[in-house]
């Protein structure tokens, strides 16, 4: 099936198999930040933005992205660095394997929620598993990032 998908601002037209997950499609376009951690839509490592909204790219077929905009961490380098610096200063990227998906969701949350409470942050990011950190350092990084954004 022929589709036209915009990945990080670049338009691609491809003939793809209808059962190709978006995850494998974006990786084939060199977006290697996008990781797979499970086969059951439970880990959140594969999170990308589809028209600006976070989705699990393992569970979305590439054909569903036809005519739409896909953004991965590669396309948000500047924002990734800005939040990533806070994460790094907390040591909240231990092995870093969950970081891209997690950061994609944090950035979406920062756009969507105003002044979220700790509880709202936990809820929003509940689908992003991390086995290394125990989540506390990530929460500290998010808090500091949100404060710094507010203070401009």
């Amino acid at each position: 099936m022929v589709v036209t998908i915009t990945v990080n601002g670049t338009k691609y037209t491809d003939d793809i198999s209808p059962d190709l997950p978006l995850l494998d499609y974006v990786r084939s376009k060199g977006c290697l930040s996008v990781k797979r951690g499970c086969e059951t839509s439970n880990c959140g490592l594969c999170t990308v933005h589809l028209d600006g909204k976070p989705v699990l790219s393992c569970s979305v077929l590439a054909v569903r992205a036809n005519g739409r905009q896909v953004t991965t961490l590669e396309g948000l380098e500047e924002e990734a660095r800005a939040f990533g610096a806070f994460l790094a200063d907390e040591g909240g990227e231990q092995c870093g394997f969950c970081s891209p998906g997690f950061i994609m969701n944090v950035l979406a949350m920062a756009h969507e929620l105003d002044d979220p409470t700790d509880e709202e942050i936990r809820e929003y990011l509940a689908g992003n598993l991390c086995r290394c950190t125990g989540y506390q350092s990530q929460l500290r990084a998010i808090r500091k990032y949100l404060t710094s954004k507010k203070e401009g």
């Binding site: 990781k35 951690g37 939040f83 040591g91 394997f97 969950c98 509940a126 290394c132 950190t133 506390q136």
Partner: protein, 759 residues
């Protein structure tokens, strides 16, 4: 000290948070074959025939390998120093399948789809046998997991494959029965801990190719590159000199990757076809055929006198090796050494154990490595005896805990040179407000708030075995290259060792370029396991820096035309003490060493420690328990750690938080279960629940440092210790809420609710 003890950002942090392609899968060559495995549906079976004709016809299939194509020398996949204590009980592909998911055939194809299709088209006939699944019935059972005659144990661990024994041991100090008889109270209970999956986010994965010299190159997500080289050589029957192993960044290990799991299959394909090959384990494969924590059953007898002095502990442990003995004989030792030794004044102690084979997934190394299981049993028993004596569980520990200066008779007779366990307890009580909260409060909604406590210890490397080697080179312009053979798996050791080097060489940390691990280029290191890296390899860094400083001073002095006693080195320059204006900079020395000399400046030292000083910890859980449903929420957890000098505050803290959360998972959720036929029932993150953000509230960590004289900058280890307190602390808190002792992990809501109903 500018960097040691500071919260230094990890050297690779920014590339990780911007998603750079630094992991195995990101670097697989485009033309690599995709490897998939046909796995056994049976827990105990013999292959009678395999027909691969139809599968070979699938377009894109390049090779299909079965037991007939694989080498016939038995080996172990446990990443341990040679001679490995784990028995040689495996083949890459065997006719005898000993657990569900054992590999039957290796398929390599141009695409994943072709490989998967071919896997489905291989026709296999099995002679299916009854599986042995209950480890309590394994010893001397007529069903033999390893009936083969070429089974062999390199070390005298008590292995006997004709009795399903992977190892067995016993030791006794003093007269246990006599002491028990003389005690005022004795508490006896049998505990059961389950197999747990490490569940690192990056599953097992490897790719292989032949390099320009025709040697097998293995790029793998591993904690033990040098052991991988040896194990592959054993398994593939090729010379070690023909193998090179490279570790890129890895997505977590926790011990799982201290075994060879995914490496053998693409390696065999590359050897047979000459082509690059890759394998990425699915989450399901990682769950069903990984290297989980050993399931154990432990019976503890603790005896104390009326005043709460603990006089004797007797411990028997039965461990389930599963189908293969990886790490079986060694994990079991830690069950006692790292639990009994928390108590300094024992007059008698005994430990006996059996490690048995069954037809379940083979076990491996998981953070804590037996200490976790032993500490759960002993700490829970100590809390119970405190309750019997109507004593605060903190008080009984304060009375009996090991102290600096004691000889630890149950810990290889090592002296306890550094121990701040008493301060950890004090601090934890303050942080938790223990005295106000103990034992419980009933809230208006009927929920019960209660607290519980446990202590823990671990080791720092394997004494007399582990080796860390380091090389540091001075380059032109005066920057250094630090070559290490230990494996950063997110734990930050590349950064931590750079911090130490920067302080020893008195330079900016950016002046240290660090590189690991490539077995062709890195100095030898046993690998990152057994909490060895900071302590063992760290000391090698300190020693190497001392040697290099000497050489820098010699070279500087000769450039200045004076003797070495007349100069000093401050990291930036070598100068004449009597006339500080006469100096050469480190940059000038670097350049000079590159020109017309016979000595490029480099130093390399190795370190091995005759002792393994334990780090210590006190953990306290505050829980909210709903007596109607039995649901437990850990609303606050306090961990106070003595890891000696803290090298990197951030990383040590995150290690502790992460370890505590894994421990909470073990206490309340995680449990590998099998069907009656021996297939795993919870083989995904849907069914095997690891803690998510919603399962946690606050975790608070503090450090109470002792100074370990044998460690670099006074440091001990931290990586494993931190997983050990949650299970016993939470079980203690549940008792303080309900008056019920739970001895089987995980403690489930329904068990608590049922227990309360029966009460």
């Amino acid at each position: 000290m500018a960097y040691v003890n500071a919260p230094v950002r990890k050297k690779d942090a920014m590339s990780l948070v911007t998603g750079k392609p630094v992991y195995v899968e990101d670097q697989i060559p485009k033309n690599a074959l995709v490897v998939k495995l046909l796995r056994s549906p049976h827990a105990n079976a013999f292959i009678t025939s395999i027909d691969k004709t139809a599968a070979m016809k699938v377009p894109g299939v390049v090779c299909i390998l079965t037991h007939e194509d694989a080498p016939k020398s038995r080996f172990t996949t446990a990443g341990q120093t040679y001679p490995e204590p784990s028995p040689y009980d495996r083949l890459i592909l065997d006719r005898h399948l000993r657990c569900a998911g054992d590999p039957v055939a290796i398929v390599a194809a141009e695409t994943a789809q072709a490989a998967e299709r071919a896997v489905r088209m291989i026709k296999v006939k099995y002679d299916v046998r009854e599986p042995l699944l209950d480890f309590r019935k394994a010893k001397d059972n007529p069903i033999l997991v390893h009936p083969e005659d070429d089974f062999k144990a390199l070390c005298p661990v008590g292995a006997d494959n004709k009795r399903n024994l992977c190892s067995t041991d016993v030791f006794e100090i003093g007269d246990v029965e006599k002491e028990l008889a003389a005690c005022d109270v004795v508490c006896t209970r049998t505990y059961h801990t389950k197999a747990n999956n490490q569940a690192m986010m990056e599953t097992f994965r490897t790719f292989t190719y032949l390099d320009e010299y025709g040697r097998l190159t293995v790029v793998s997500s591993t904690q033990v590159p040098f052991h991988v080289r040896r194990i592959l050589s054993n398994a593939l029957e090729i010379k070690k000199s023909q193998i090179r192993v490279i570790k890129p960044r890895i997505g977590g290990g926790f011990g799982a990757k201290q075994s060879v799991v995914s490496e053998l299959f693409p390696a065999l394909v590359t050897m047979k076809t000459g082509r690059p090959a890759s394998i990425i384990y699915t989450r399901e494969e990682s769950m069903t055929n990984g290297s989980p924590r050993h399931e154990m059953q432990m019976t503890v007898r603790v005896g104390a006198d009326q005043s709460g002095v603990i006089r004797v502990i007797d411990l028997y442990a039965l461990s389930n090796a599963g189908a293969y003995g990886d790490h079986g004989p060694t994990t079991i030792g830690l069950v006692s050494h790292k639990s009994l030794s928390l108590y300094g004044g024992l007059s008698a102690a005994r430990f006996a154990c059996d490690v048995v084979y069954t037809n379940t997934m083979g076990g491996g190394a998981y953070r804590g490595y037996g200490a976790t299981q032993g500490i759960f049993a002993v700490e829970a028993a100590v809390s119970e005896i405190a309750a019997k004596l109507s004593m605060d569980p903190c008080e009984i520990r304060e009375k009996n805990m090991v102290a600096e200066g004691q000889i630890m008779h149950t810990y290889y007779g090592e002296p306890c040179n550094s121990c701040a366990l008493d301060r950890c307890m004090q601090k934890a009580k303050e942080m938790m407000q223990w005295n106000e909260k103990y034992p419980r409060k009933v809230l208006e909604n009927g929920h019960i708030r209660s607290v519980g406590v446990a202590m823990a210890m671990q080791g720092s490397g394997i004494s007399g075995v582990d080796i860390g080697s380091v090389e540091i080179r001075l380059n032109d312009d005066g920057f250094y290259t630090l070559l290490v053979g230990c494996t950063d798996m997110g734990t930050g050791c590349d950064t931590i060792l750079s911090q130490m080097a920067a302080d020893c060489l008195e330079c900016d940390i950016d002046n240290i370029a660090v590189r690991g691990v490539d077995t062709d280029q890195s100095p030898y290191d046993t690998g990152s396991y057994a909490s060895s890296t900071t302590y063992v390899t760290g000391m090698a860094v300190v020693k190497t820096c001392e040697s290099l400083r000497k050489k820098i001073i010699e070279m500087g002095a000769s450039m200045l035309g004076v003797s070495v006693d007349e100069v000093s080195f401050d990291g930036k320059r070598v100068y004449v003490i009597a006339d500080e204006n006469r100096s050469v900079t480190i940059s000038e020395i670097g350049y000079a060493s590159y020109e017309g000399h016979n000595h490029c400046l480099s130093a390399s030292e190795s370190h091995s420690s005759p002792v393994s000083p334990p780090p210590f910890m006190v953990g306290m859980a505050e829980i909210d328990l709903d007596p109607l449903t039995g649901e437990v929420n850990v609303i606050d957890y306090v961990g106070v750690v003595d890891c000696g000098t803290v090298i990197n505050k951030n990383l040590a803290r995150v290690q502790t938080e992460g370890g505590i959360v894994q421990g909470i998972g073990m206490a309340l959720y995680e449990d590998i279960r099998y069907s009656e036929r021996g297939t795993m029932q919870n083989n995904s993150f849907m069914q095997y629940k690891i803690p998510s953000r919603l399962d946690l509230n606050t975790i608070r960590v503090a450090f109470e440092s002792s100074y370990e004289p044998t460690g670099p900058f006074g440091a001990k280890s931290i990586g494993e210790l931190v997983i050990n307190t949650p299970s016993p602390a939470i079980v203690d808190a549940i008792y303080n809420a309900t008056g019920l002792w739970f001895d089987t992990l995980p403690v489930r809501a329904e068990d608590i609710a049922l227990g309360l109903l029966k009460k």
